[in-house]
């Protein structure tokens, strides 16, 4: 197993195989990031590939200040952010206003992603639910949440990444989580209710 640095050096020299190895190492993580951001496989593929391509082209500029993965993540996040913003054109300022949970839905301009066949497995229902909810988040909230809870970045890193203040990051994460929590609970309550009804029906037959 080669070290990342070695592979990076070889990739810089133009060794496509070396870069391919790096791709293999990190494609899941990047793909997941992209998927979580956009909620569907198609976009995830596009953007993850885009991220890798950009990384490959920008290899010259990578000086090894950080780990390759961090740098790659940065690129991927940028790609996703650019795309999100392009699609939903929600200005950053408006998200900082005091907003109640309900208003989020008003702000939401996100079209619901169509679930693919793989996503209908019951096992993944919760996950899918979560993802659907995430999809309803406005871009800036979405990004902050994913970077925090899926990528595991620190608040500072996130602040740097999203080019905003630490306070903003805290606020966004907090609000995003609250929102999700409320939604999940509501949904689960609904599910439970349905369960109870169907159970009673089964029993009554």
């Amino acid at each position: 197993m080669y070290k990342d640095e070695e592979l990076v050096a070889r990739s810089k020299a133009g060794d496509l195989q070396a870069f391919d190895e790096l791709v293999c190492r990190y494609e899941r993580k990047i793909y997941t990031l992209a998927y979580r951001m956009f909620g569907n496989y198609h976009d995830a593929s596009d953007l993850a590939q885009e991220a890798f391509l950009r990384a490959f082209q920008s290899l010259k500029g990578f000086r090894g200040d950080s780990s390759f993965f961090t740098w790659l993540c940065r690129i991927a996040t940028n790609v996703c952010r650019d795309e999100l913003r392009k699609r939903y054109r929600v200005s950053v300022e408006s998200l900082d206003e005091e907003v109640s949970i309900g208003d989020w839905e008003i702000k939401k301009q996100i079209p619901a992603a169509n679930p693919g066949p793989a996503e209908l497995y019951e096992r993944q229902e919760l996950q899918q639910e979560l993802q659907d909810l995430i999809n309803t988040l406005a871009p800036e909230f979405r990004m902050a949440l994913i970077l925090r809870d899926i990528q595991g970045q620190s608040y500072e890193e996130i602040a740097e990444q999203l080019e905003c203040s630490l306070g903003t990051v805290k606020s966004r994460i907090s609000r995003a989580r609250s929102y999700l929590k409320e939604k999940i609970l509501t949904q689960q309550a609904q599910v439970d209710q349905r369960e109870q009804i169907s159970q009673r029906k089964r029993l009554s037959i």
Partner: protein, 458 residues
């Protein structure tokens, strides 16, 4: 802190991102507030759930597609390198005609202007300068090309009659003594012609088109020699009118007279030209000539002397003989005789008298010629107003530089015209070229941006 505030901080508390004192605050509150505790638990739960979101495994084609794109990117980059150079060049041109239009074109335009100015000057220099030179040369000492160009310009000024008349006459009047026949041939005619005929071998001018050449005839006071003196001068003066006046005044002073006078203006440089022919008593010949010197630059000076003593003596002798004959015939007539004899005598007398008249005429002519010199003055007003130009050298340079300066200005105008013509001709080509450049640059840029979506900025 109230619950609301606490709840806002819960996330950060959970993530351990709070400041120490804040953390304590929250912890303290949580210990006492069940509502917030519940909230905290729910928050934890959701975070857990989020964290448990599985890693998504990319579909198999993901990797394949990515690799293919990477390869393509590498290939395109290799292709781009030679294109880069083209692109750079085209970009340079683009800049030249686009953004940096002004600064890029200025040196080019300057070079073009210089070229266009130089070429007409160069072209004009060859025949044109000669023309100028000839004009100026005429003001200078004659020897320098003056002969050739003077004749050419003189010819162009319509003095052909002079040259023509001079030619044949010149040949005919080979010897100095054939005056009689030519005199008769010319008849009373133009004095000019007479004068021309007088100019024989000694007067043979290098420039056949000298307007008038005569030999000043000087009758020496000393009876033993009879000399006809002629002078032929060409002067360049500053002021034609003034010079003419001065000459006339001098002539009058010396008891001479002006035989004829012509004047004409040439168009090329507005030069005034003219000739005068004056008769001055031979005794004052030298004085008069000396008096002419200060009037202007003496371009030519021919002084001819012709010794006609022998002819004079001959003519005088003949005259005497004829007179004697006449007397004798008259005597014979008085003796009377037969009608036939009288008639014969009368006849002979008539002949004699006729000859006498002719001879007397000749003598008178000789006397006239020898007693009065004929000075032919050809005047020319300087093309460029200058002072008395004594000799060539620096003064000539002054004239030359002025003329050259004027010519340069003319050439600049010509050159500007040529430049405008050239630009007008070039505009269609430039338009096509610019279009091509734009197309190529757009294609190149398009290709670059397709390759590098990363470069697309929002």
């Amino acid at each position: 802190m109230n619950c609301q505030e606490i709840r806002e901080k819960l996330s950060a508390y959970l993530d351990n991102e709070l400041e120490a004192h804040e953390k304590e605050c929250v912890a303290g509150h949580l210990a006492n507030c069940t509502a917030c505790q519940a909230e905290m638990e729910e928050l934890q739960k959701i975070v857990e759930q989020l964290s448990s979101l599985e890693e998504i495994i990319p579909p198999p084609e993901f990797h394949r597609e990515l690799f293919a794109k990477l390869e393509q990117g590498v290939r395109e980059k290799k292709k781009e390198v030679p294109q880069m150079k083209k692109g750079v060049f085209r970009g340079f041109l683009q800049n030249l005609f686009g953004a940096k239009r002004y600064s890029g074109l200025v040196p080019v335009a300057v070079a073009l202007i210089l070229l266009l100015l130089v070429s007409p000057v160069l072209l004009n220099n060859l025949p044109g300068m000669q023309g100028t030179k000839s004009e100026i040369a005429m003001d200078m000492a004659a020897p320098e090309d003056g002969g050739f160009s003077y004749s050419s310009t003189a010819r162009s000024y319509g003095t052909d009659n002079y040259s023509l008349s001079l030619g044949p006459e010149m040949d005919k009047a080979g010897a100095g003594y054939d005056y009689m026949a030519e005199n008769q041939a010319a008849g009373a005619g133009e004095s000019r012609q007479m004068k021309i005929m007088n100019t024989t071998a000694p007067v043979a001018p290098p420039v056949p088109t000298d307007p008038v050449q005569t030999t000043g005839q000087v009758e020496t006071e000393v009876l033993d020699r009879k000399i006809i003196k002629n002078a032929n001068l060409t002067l360049t003066v500053d002021d034609y009118e003034q010079a003419v006046e001065e000459i006339r005044a001098k002539v009058v002073t010396l008891n001479g007279y002006v035989a004829y006078e012509t004047e004409y203006t040439t168009d090329k440089l507005g030069t005034k030209r003219g000739s005068m022919q004056v008769r001055i008593p031979q005794s004052d010949f030298d004085t008069f000539l000396a008096g002419l010197e200060p009037l202007g630059e003496m371009k030519r000076k021919d002084i001819n002397s012709q010794d006609v003593t022998e002819e004079y003596i001959d003519v005088t002798g003949r005259l005497n003989a004829l007179r004697v004959k006449e007397e004798r015939l008259l005597d014979i007539l008085t003796k009377s005789g037969s009608l036939n004899e009288i008639l014969a005598v009368e006849n002979e007398l008539a002949n004699t008298r006729s000859q006498l008249e002719t001879t007397e005429g000749r003598l008178r002519y000789l006397n006239n010629q020898t007693s009065f010199s004929t000075i032919s003055i050809s005047l020319e007003q300087a093309a460029v107003s200058t002072q008395q130009v004594t000799a060539g050298g620096l003064k000539g340079v002054g004239q030359w530089s002025k003329a050259a300066f004027i010519e340069s200005i003319n050439n600049i105008l010509v050159g500007t015209g040529n430049l405008l013509v050239f630009l007008s001709a070039a505009v269609p080509y430039l338009v096509i070229l610019i279009l091509l450049v734009f197309i190529v640059v757009a294609v190149w840029r398009g290709r670059r941006s397709r390759k590098n979506p990363a470069d697309k900025e929002e």
